[in-house]
Symmetry: C2
Subunit: 367 residues, 2 copies
Amino acid sequence: VRIKKPTMIIDRPLTIKKIEWMANKARASNVRFRPHFKTHQSAEIGNWFKKYNVSSIAVSSVDMAIYFAENGWNDIMICTPTNIHQIDQINKLAEQIELHALVDSLETTEKLGNEMQNDLNVWIEIDVGYKRTGVPSIRIGDIKNIAKSIQKKPYLLFAGIITHAGHAYHAHSINEIITIYQDSIKQLSAIREALLSEGHSDIQVSIGDTPTCSLIERFEKPITEIRPGNFVFYDLIQLNIGSCKENDISMTIACPVISKHPERNELVIYGGGASLSKEGISHEKYGTIHGLICLPDNKKGRTNSIKDVYISSLSQEHGKIKGPPEFIEKVKIGDILLVLPVHACQAAILHAKYQTFEGQIFPKFRA
Amino acid sequence: VRIKKPTMIIDRPLTIKKIEWMANKARASNVRFRPHFKTHQSAEIGNWFKKYNVSSIAVSSVDMAIYFAENGWNDIMICTPTNIHQIDQINKLAEQIELHALVDSLETTEKLGNEMQNDLNVWIEIDVGYKRTGVPSIRIGDIKNIAKSIQKKPYLLFAGIITHAGHAYHAHSINEIITIYQDSIKQLSAIREALLSEGHSDIQVSIGDTPTCSLIERFEKPITEIRPGNFVFYDLIQLNIGSCKENDISMTIACPVISKHPERNELVIYGGGASLSKEGISHEKYGTIHGLICLPDNKKGRTNSIKDVYISSLSQEHGKIKGPPEFIEKVKIGDILLVLPVHACQAAILHAKYQTFEGQIFPKFRA
């Protein structure tokens, strides 16, 4: 399929291989695999999971939950602290499917409990060190109070505890990830014990971040569920952390060359913040970069990234590429370059559809 | 209108006031006002310009040109070096409207000239120091050759020279902007003279960047056209440069509070990279920030930004806000906060529609 403008391209076989790998890993540890679909946001890619017996998913908004419910998913977790302005929609959706919601405050729990008219699985979000959302794990009293409040409400079912160890994204080695993982387990175990001692039973424990789920081989007790999302594509952030190898990255954005500046060893592609997002990543040699560059390859879809070629800056529709003279000389205006994105989730948000190397085109969710 | 989730809100009267101001400024200098519509990307906001006799616009992609042509605009400039993969579409559009395209290479000019079947106004993009696209202004020979090539092609009409002094975005004072502006004028004048001496006549000169167009009071010869875009909203980047005051910013993103953490003076809003973009800006006191925070105000739409309250980090759907204890204490879960965005253009890309403070809702273009 001829590329005419910035186009999000997915390596389908590689993506499916990773889905199978993660599903097998979850099965071997006897934990539920609840992939986070906020990364790809696509019904078609969702279908690729079904072959591996995935029936539970996570999403990051009510709108995304509605989209996947409409596309046949019956067990969906909305993985952000419940927004009390959307309880109406949550209530409607809970009538149709097995819906899971997160709380990290008594206020939200009470309001949710008072307004729901359909069964809702409620999870308490625990902060194990990321310091974004969740009740800090040391506040056992608060956690117990929220659990009590859930149990008193007729339509709220206390499902368990959940965490996102987002601080794993700041790790720079496998050892750091393992330390974060083990520390999370310790905190979650303590909370689970405390809740069991209060008479709560069947407390599920859900963890989910791509670095941990990629690098930990076996998930131990008390984990009952994992929710990685980004692994389905991977990107330069994950490559930098060490969660993946470059060959594991299955998203590229194909962009045509529109301007050449050999006098300063630069090219410009049609492909800027509007197709790649403006996220940057620190590169040891080049400072902040916005993507690495590969070439199309008839057999493998794309080559490896080309040494010393990178996106040095972005504006809305322009991407400036720097590279060695021999590369810049060779590339012609109109040539298609493939960008390995800094952050796949953020790049995906900008696109209405995906295309595979084989030419399959399919739409995705957009807020 | 009740806000339930991250919603892009436009201050309509303020936006219109700025449109009038810029239109008057262009008129006083006797230059054409060709606003860049890549910022708002909306037919409705486009209509607000018509009252001020605007009939020529700039856009940043062929798709956006098609959108505005469908919405009644008959004089459109595609303000990126022409993408040779889209000549078919350009040709079709040129049959319907007065279309303007940019070139910065002989290769693209030749290909465009060989394939066009309808009249196309062609501008040579000049690089006056931004070093993104455009022929460097010192390469007078190359510029002359491109102009010659345009004139030889039956459907290409040589319109003039155009520049985007994007390096003005890195300025930190009005004096720096004035220096960049004066330096641009000098370079463009020299090129114009060189082209006139070759026998080209009626050479238009188009400039356009929001810092320059905001801060320069009178546009002098040889400028015939200005193309500011971002001024229609402004944002924290422009505030930082000094192009505007905070009161001039007419875009905010309304976001509900979903999580409170008074123990660390933090709140979390539903509103992350998916609604605000991940762009950050360096703040003298707080390092990289991702937005300032205002409160809704019944009369004025929003208050001024609250002192020492800012977005310290973003994930896909979460925005973490830091602030003084007295602010954090006061805010309740469910409250709506208004974010002044770092970069209005990049935030706009993420939204399918706008809402005004008065409750008018209207769609916008999306790629």
